[in-house]
Symmetry: D2
Subunit: 93 residues, 4 copies
């Protein structure tokens, strides 16, 4: 049971759509589609992946972090540190 469990089906649907979009980009490259159009499509997939990440972060904060904080300040602090590292990787990616 994790932060995203309630919305699992929605995440799976979005990830399958993204998988299909990546396959579509490979097909574009294979069919020699114009570079700029390939780039536009990659930017769309990157945005879709970021949206999934942001949703997962929100679910994680709302469940795992909030629950830990309600257990004890120490457990809250440990989860916050871990979440902040994940957010940093996200911002830099």
């Amino acid at each position: 049971m994790h932060g995203y469990t309630d919305a699992k089906d929605d995440y799976l649907k979005r990830l399958r759509r993204i998988e299909g979009q990546v396959r579509g980009i490979a097909r574009m490259v294979d069919e020699d589609v114009y570079c700029i159009d390939v780039l536009t499509q990659i930017a769309a997939v990157t945005k879709a992946l970021q949206a999934v990440s942001i949703g997962l972060v929100e679910d994680h904060l709302g469940h795992c972090v909030v629950d830990a904080a309600r257990q004890s300040p120490e457990e809250g602090a440990a989860k916050v540190r871990e979440a902040a590292d994940a957010i940093a990787r996200l911002v830099r990616s």
Copy 2:
């Protein structure tokens, strides 16, 4: 009293350094420094600003969000929603 209050002096020092770096970039443009060198410097400032943001997010989660969660699940949820929106703006900026 906010999440970043303990580290306020550190944030102020970093922001003043960033302000000086932006002034330095204006000087580079004014003195016709090579475009690529200006771009390298802007990338460095952007990274420094992101590092400040990530620090502020961590402090915010560790204080405001954790405190709200310990008050009540509802207050925790409201703070999480607000923090997630701020993180989304950060990821997209």
Copy 3:
């Protein structure tokens, strides 16, 4: 014939690996893997997609834009404008 034609096989291989990584992320969600580990994996895929984009931009500049510039300043300028828009979408994604 596009900027990336010479490296087409390499791009296809990388895109197929990315497609597999996205499928792996869906599997992680399906198996209730811990949110933070899912986020780490999404950040890795986003980085891999950005690396493909940067490669495509370089190939595009080195072929389509340079060729256009050698045809005429006007054609060069048109291709530069188009490339800059694609780069902007990339930076903002």
Copy 4:
């Protein structure tokens, strides 16, 4: 004489505005403004810096890279390589 020379005054004006915005962020921190509002303002400054970068890249491609390409394919290729590295730093920042 560089790619951005024609628009130098515009860049200087934008960089001075950004410098003022960074000073404003330091003031917000000094006056204990709410973390989320500080983060919103940092995201705005980051976007403004990225817009300057994208403008500089376009000017650089349209002048330095196009001119080099018109000199010789080798000079064009060298400038493209250098520009692609700068774009990569921009995308990753």
